[in-house]
Structures are given as C-alpha cells and as structure tokens.
Symmetry: C2
Subunit: 217 residues, 2 copies
DNA sequence: GTGAAAATGAACTGGTGAGTTCAATTACCT
DNA sequence: AGGTAATTGAACTCACCAGTTCATTTTCAC
C-alpha cells in the first residue's frame, strides 16, 4: 500500500515515464486475459520494459493491479461526473436536455477503459473485495447522490414529480443503461452506438412518462 | 446437504452418484474462489472423491466448469420461467399481480446459486465467451421474449399502454432489479430481502406510472 | 566527461496446479 | 463366490509464473 513512493524524488531519474507505460500496458493485458492469466513477463513485454523495472516501481502484481484499477476508475469516474455539468437546470428543453445527458452517460459507460475496469472489478470481486468497495464508494455512489440532487432541484421547481430523488436517480440510470451489459456481453464485445442511443432515448421517454409533470415534449 | 456426509473414511467408496457430488462441490468451490484459483485437488476433497474420478467423469477442468455452469443455469432459468405462470392475465388486481411477479423474480435473481452462476459467467466472460452466449440465449433472452408476450397481451386488452413490448419488458426488469447488483456487490455479499422487496415495489410503481392506462391501483 | 541512479536481460528459486499412471481396493451384478 | 468395472491414494511429469539476484548497460545531472 505504499503508494506515495512514486514521487519525483527519485523515480524521475534515469528513464522517465516507464511507470506510466507499465500501468497502461497492465490495464490492456489485464483487460484482455484477466488477472490470473496475466503474467508479469507479458505485461513487461507489452510495456517495453524489463520485468525487474515493474517491481522497482510497483512492488508486486497485486499492488500493480490495485494501482491500475484505482487510477483508471478515478479517471472514468471523473468523466462521468463531468456529464452532470450539462444537466438541464431549468425547464428549457427538459426532454432534449435529459436525452443529451443520457447519451453522454452511455458514452462514458461504454468507454473501453471504463468497461474494462468494471469487468475486472466484477471478475475479481472475490479476491479484492476491499478494492471493489473503494472504487464504488468513490464512483457510482457519489454519482447517484449528485444525480439525485439535480433531479430534486427539478422536482422542487415543479418540473418533475418525484418523491424519492435517490430512488428516481437509480431508476433513471437503470432505464438508461437498461440492457447495455447484455448487449455488450458485459463489455467483452463491441457495442453498436446506434443501439445504445436508442436505448437511452427510450429510457428517458419512460422516465418522463413516469415522472414528468406536464405533457412531456 | 447430500455431500456433508461424505467422509474420507472407506464407508462410501465405490460407485454412487459421484458425478453429482462432483458437480455440486465444484459449483461451491468455483463460486467461493473463482475459476483460476479453484484447484481440482480442492474440488475433489470437497466432493469426497479422488481426483482421477473427476477426470473419469468430466475429462478436464474446463469441461467440468462448462457442465457446472450450464446445468446450474438451466435450473435457475427454469425457476425464473415458472414465475411467469403467475403473471396477471386480466386486469384483476394488476398492480398487486405485478408486485407479486416482481417479488418472485427478485427472489430468483438473488438465489444463491443463481448469483454464483451469474458472477462466474461475468468473471470468465473473457475466457469462455461462447459459454456466456449459450447460457444467455437459453435463459434471459427467452425470458424477455416470454415477458414481452405477457405484457403485449395486457396492452392489447387495454390494461397497459405499450408500443414496444420487448423494450417494455427490458425496462420492467431493469426497474425491478434496479440496484440489486450494487446492493449485493454483484452477488458476493448477502442481501437484505426487505430492501430488495422495496426496490421491486418501487419499480412496479414507476412502471405503472409510465405504462398504466388508468389510475393504477 | 564523469558518476550514480535507474534500467536491462538472463538465469534462478520456489511454489502451485493440471493431468496421468498404476497397483490396490471396493462395490455391484449374477 | 467370482468377475468386472469403478474408485482410490499416492506419486509423478510437465508447465507456468511470481519474485529475486546480479553483472552489465543506459540515462541523466552536474
């Protein structure tokens, strides 16, 4: 867990950005073959680096995996949170605003790295339960809270009829993501963006049928 | 259950339903430690069986895994399909009828073996993509079709307003399952049945707000 | 340049696990 | 009782891989 030891104090000497190359290659290899099947020799080769260098930088396979997961998840979560900045604040085009947000969320969800992290976390939830909790707490949990806040504001202004904003937020993403995991075989397969868009729009439609205050469009 | 009495003594040697004991033990071990970490020695010990016996019956670790997955999934899928037999046919208590179905579906979904299979399929989707497809085609895909048929009948009788029954079926289960995977950490953690019930009822409520033709209740 | 930290590659250790072999044992059938 | 097939335990082969060691080379700071 000695995470802070990779600062500019010492590791900026010698060859640079080896560390980044290692982490990026590790994500690719882990995503491709899974944790158990990913040998450090393979990761080293893919990163263009010698095996001992990996240990110099990251100590062990487990530590490498933890770093790869947390760093990639943090990046993906950041992008997802950014989507909320374009969330419709007033009733000015509520439906197109929600469709826009839904489309962007689908794009984040189906991002290659995002799917890889999700699949790996799921796959290794038994071996790294703490990692699972950590990533979820810093990602989805916070996102749902933020989305619930936005929905509550709209409801308060009379643009939506919502009693439980957190539940509504969960149902919103449930409707928008709907069968995404199924369509993409849980991320192990490319996904047709057209299909994903349709699912998102249909999800927004159903959401507004249930929670919209006026005619909708 | 039937495996707890298999001691290592010389009592129950010879030909019994070793095969069943092996498959059951293998499911438990796979679910507990994952595919890669499950050694055949461990499975043999847990099944109260010698290692060569496993090879006599099932040939290889991969083949054993495939059998365990398909057989367990078939059983779980069967139970899920049975739920549809109690699907409300007329408008007689549409809401309580749907809530009843939703509750039963949640029970199937959160069944221990069902979750174990789902988690393992997800975890090993990269290594066994064909297995993933096979199980999904014989399970969820058929179920969605059947559910869509029931919904279409209700819509045809004027009890629901549904344009796309398959989409409505997908959204129904999306709403009903909602955050089940999150709540149970994708099945690697026990789940409070009370919470699951609430989610299911809320899902039905939202579904009827969106698709109900009359006041609802 | 020079020197020290970092990187390299190649060989090595230790452990684990899949799959096999085989002689001895056990259960079931007639 | 006798024969046959399944079962058993134990030892074995073979391969893979995490992690280490070390002598050598590269990179960069000064």
């Amino acid at each position: 867990m000695s995470v802070g030891d990779t600062e500019k104090s010492t590791s900026d000497r010698g060859r640079l950005d080896k560390r980044r190359a290692i982490v990026e290659a590790a994500l690719r290899v882990f995503a491709r073959v899974g944790y158990a099947q990913a040998s450090l020799d393979l990761i080293a080769a893919e990163a263009g680096v010698a095996k001992p260098t990996i240990y110099n930088h990251l100590g062990s396979k487990e530590n490498l995996f933890r770093h790869v997961m947390t760093e990639t998840a943090a990046r993906a979560n950041g992008k997802t949170m950014e989507v909320l900045e374009s969330f419709p604040g007033e009733a000015d085009g509520l439906r197109p605003g929600l469709e826009d947000v839904a489309g962007k969320l689908v794009a984040c969800y189906t991002d290659e790295q995002s799917q890889a992290v999700r699949r790996l976390l799921y796959a290794e939830a038994v071996r790294f339960p703490d990692l699972f909790d950590q990533v979820r707490a810093s990602g989805p949990d916070q996102f749902i809270e933020a989305l619930a806040g936005r929905l509550a504001r709209l409801a308060n202004a009379g643009h939506l009829r919502i009693e439980d904003p957190v539940r509504a937020a969960n149902q919103f993403i449930a409707l928008v993501y709907e069968e995404l995991p199924t369509l993409s075989t849980f991320g192990s397969r490319p996904l047709d963006q057209k299909d994903a868009e349709k699912v998102a729009v249909a999800g927004v439609d159903t959401f507004l049928r249930a929670f919209g205050s006026s005619g909708g469009s």
